[in-house]
Amino acid sequence: MPAFLLKRLMQSVMLLVIVSIVGFVVLNLIPGGPMAQYALDPGMTQEDMNRLAEQLGLNRPLWVQYLDWIWRLVQGDWGTSFRDGSPVLDVIGRHVFATLLLMGSSTVIAVAVGTWIGIRGATHRYSTFDYLATVGAMIALSIPTFWFGLIGIYVFSLKLGWLPAGNMYTIGDGSVLNYLHHLIMPSTVLALVHIAIWSRFMRAATLDAISQEFVKTARAKGVGERRVILKHVVGNALLPMITLAGVQLPSLLTGALVTETVFTWPGMGRLFLDSLGYSDYPVVMGLLIFSAILTIAGNLIADIVVALVDPRIRLA
């Protein structure tokens, strides 16, 4: 087990290095580069531009820039935003709570609802419920998230007036209830597509487990059907789902990007789009690394959880 952990940790670090290199190179390949926004300013002369480039260290070879940047990054200096001069980590810190709140709540909704639909679809295979769930999942997967967001706003905010159309809280009201009220629609909309994916995989995993011999053994012992499903079938079906949860994390993050824009949610997704618009490269690179860390950590945690839960790996 410790050997396994060490190995996975080293793999994760390697992966992070590769992601950072690719991200850095790609961002610098974009036409214009970090200086593009200044080039449009009529008051800037070529001399000013050169001076600025030297100040920002942008006139050095790319690999030197990368090494410099990554070395500072490791030491906790993620650079400063071009936009307002505040440290990148602070900028990300201001937005991270909103995104984690949105991602966390929609994960809870997606896993809970998706698991339930998946199990019920498998235990009542080819029933009306199963067919409706299949069709529902297809619909949720084929219609883009922003459309659901817009329809949601139209129905629940404009017509019915039950839910707020955007923002994380009403200014001046910081109560938990107010946050929850604002959270309902974005998290549900973001969860929709994940419910669809999760329920399909859960159904397949449950069907897989339900046909295993040990399920028959449990029934032959006289174990009640409820316990057979919950303990023997679901227990085994959830194993591959843990890995799936780790893999799903990045798509949740990209989904948050769209959802945050639709609901004017003050999270990292909005920050990312805004920073791209301003060519605020240090913040964009910071967000890239941050989401890479989040994704890789998610996969790592999923692997560790699987290893802890499955005795065949834990004790091997």
């Binding site: 050997a3 396994f4 060490l6 190995k7 295993q212 011999e213 040990f214 028959k216 053994t217 449990a218 029934r219 032959a220 012992k221 006289g222 174990v223 009640g224 059907e225 316990r227 023997h232 227990g235 085994n236 194993l239 839960v309 499955d310 005795p311 065949r312 004790l315």
Partner: protein, 554 residues
């Protein structure tokens, strides 16, 4: 009066099945899984239900357990279990009988235990499900049970996960679980079929001992008359959902009446102890000469101290004469299948020489070996998995020769001729694998191998997945093919009885080494090594004449 008769008969008969008919959903190959079957299991006896695949024996067992799939229903008849009528019983009433009045053990112990629960927790659950005992009393009982089924260190075993246990040990756990509430009746569905022959002998002895000790009634489902001879008091023979014959074990085995029973018994391979009549040899010397072959499996890496080194084949040497058959027998993990894969170069060896037709093929690269590959062909174990379900038989047969440059018209002609040769209609050429039975598919597999006019055939457990009567036909076919084409054969099997039918020489493998090699007469009648003696002694139903099986004596 009838009530009176009922009251007397109930304690004497553990199970009474009368006129049972179970229908299958429409569109299946026949309308009924079982049709109008009747039999009794007297209390304290072992009843063997024997039949080939599709005979309805497992459906019968599942019905008695109340574990039939929803799509299949009982249409008529009655099942009296320990004096209770269970046909028409509700699901909850049936559940309360399972594990308490009747228990069941299954064929494959490797998949019959929940991998995420400890052995102890699974035995505990058998009692918990019926609300019996307290956690402490259940724990004591579980350890008592583990001791009873002969598992070492019951206290340690209680906390073990199934993956740590061997197949035989897991089957013992299954038996412990089934016995937890001292049920009146035990149903064993082919409980030893997936086990090695020596383990099989131990498990059969365990079931017999426990049945004696507790006076339990056992319904034992099997396809193997050897097993019947070993443990049965009475026998029910089933064919295509009907009972064709029943009676005491000695009567059915010695004087079978129904033609199907006679055919089944005749098809059971017996240890002949006689050597095969040699085919007039061309005296061309050995076709294959293996010298000191070595293969070691490695996994993990030394860096993380997870390196695992498993020696699979340890310095094996043998020869196969042209036109003769060498049997390689051994239990699981003996390295016999690894050996087969090395010979056909599906995997590279770590040392030693493989002289095929005088050329050492062991060091050859894939392109250099390619022209010789045609001359060594393999017949696989699973006729269902080894044929691509999406291609026609014609394509399966011709794709190889075409790749090696044969003209299509010629390949098709040869394929049709070969199909006829292995006993299939030439029309099979345009059909798909799912249209054929297991035995027919194995014939296709043989035809496929013969398309290349090989000099050496390697058959890896080629008849293990087949029913005995089909098995006998395939063995005859292989024998005929060899006599007609003079092909040499290496026949890898775990079944000594099968090996005795077809081999000129037999090599016994244990833990990667050949412990004994010789003609069948030596291996079976005069074995030289202890391991071979042990293997031969463990073969079910094979005892020196005049000695009765133990179960029949009492």
């Amino acid at each position: 009066m009838s009530a009176h008769i009922h009251a007397v008969s109930a304690p004497e008969v553990a199970l009474s099945v009368r006129g049972l008919t179970i229908s299958l959903p429409k569109g299946m190959e026949r309308a009924h899984a079982v049709e109008n079957i009747s039999f009794d299991l007297p209390r304290g006896q072992i009843l063997c239900v024997i039949g080939e695949s599709g005979s309805g024996k497992s459906v019968t067992a599942n019905t008695i357990m109340g574990l039939l799939p929803k799509a299949i229903g009982i249409t008529a008849g009655s099942i009296q279990l320990d004096g209770r009528e269970i046909v028409g019983m509700g699901p909850e009433a049936l559940r309360s009988l399972r594990g308490r009045v009747v228990s069941m053990i299954f064929q494959d112990p490797l998949s019959a235990l929940n991998p995420l629960m400890t052995v102890g927790a699974q035995i505990d659950e058998a009692m918990l499900a019926h609300g019996v005992g307290t956690p402490t009393s259940r724990r004591e009982r579980a350890i008592e049970l583990l001791t009873e089924v002969g598992l070492p260190d019951p206290e340690v075993m209680y906390h073990q996960y199934p993956f740590r246990l061997s197949g035989g040990q897991r089957q013992r756990v299954m038996i412990a679980m089934a016995l937890a509430l001292e049920p009146a009746m035990l149903i064993a569905d082919e409980p030893t079929t997936a086990l090695d022959v020596t383990t099989q002998a131990q498990i059969l002895k365990l079931i017999r001992d426990i049945q004696h000790r507790k006076g339990m009634s056992v319904m034992f489902i099997t396809h193997d008359f050897g097993v019947v001879a070993e443990i049965a008091d009475s026998v029910v023979v089933m064919e295509k959902g009907r009972v064709v014959e029943q009676g005491s074990a000695s009567k059915v085995l010695r004087t079978p009446e129904h033609p199907y029973t006679k055919r089944l018994i005749a098809a059971v391979p017996h240890l002949t102890g006689e050597d095969r009549k040699p085919i007039p040899a061309k005296d061309a010397g050995p076709i294959l000469k293996v010298e000191n072959l070595v293969k070691t499996y490695r996994s993990g890496s030394a860096l993380f101290r997870t390196l695992r080194v498993v020696p699979a084949v340890k310095g094996v040497s043998f020869e196969v004469a042209a036109g003769r058959t060498l049997g390689v027998v051994g239990e699981s993990g003996s390295g016999k299948s690894s050996l087969g894969r090395l010979l056909i170069k599906l995997m590279d060896c770590d040392g030693g020489r493989i002289l095929f037709d005088g050329v050492d093929i062991a060091p050859l690269s894939e392109p250099a070996f390619r022209s010789s590959r045609q001359k060594i062909q393999m017949i696989f174990q699973d006729p269902f998995a080894s044929l691509n379900p999406r291609t026609t038989i014609g394509r399966i047969l011709t794709v190889g020769p075409l790749a090696h440059g044969m003209a299509y018209a010629k390949a098709r002609e040869e394929a049709r001729a070969l199909l006829d040769h292995v006993g299939l209609d030439a029309g099979a050429f345009d059909r798909y694998p799912h249209e054929f039975s297991g035995g027919q598919r194995q014939r296709i597999g043989i035809a496929r191998a013969l398309m290349f006019k090989p000099k050496l055939l390697i058959a890896d457990e080629a008849v293990s997945a087949l029913d005995v009567s089909i098995q006998a036909q395939i063995l005859q076919l292989l024998d005929r093919v060899q006599r007609e084409t003079g092909v040499s054969m290496i026949f890898i099997t775990h079944d000594l009885r099968v090996a005795s039918q077809i081999c000129d020489e037999i090599a016994v493998m244990q833990k990667g080494e050949i412990v004994e090699q010789g003609p069948p007469s030596q291996i079976f009648l005069n074995p030289q090594s202890d391991y071979t003696r042990e293997l031969v002694a463990a073969i079910p139903g094979e005892r020196p004449q005049g000695q009765k099986p133990e179960a029949a004596e009492s």
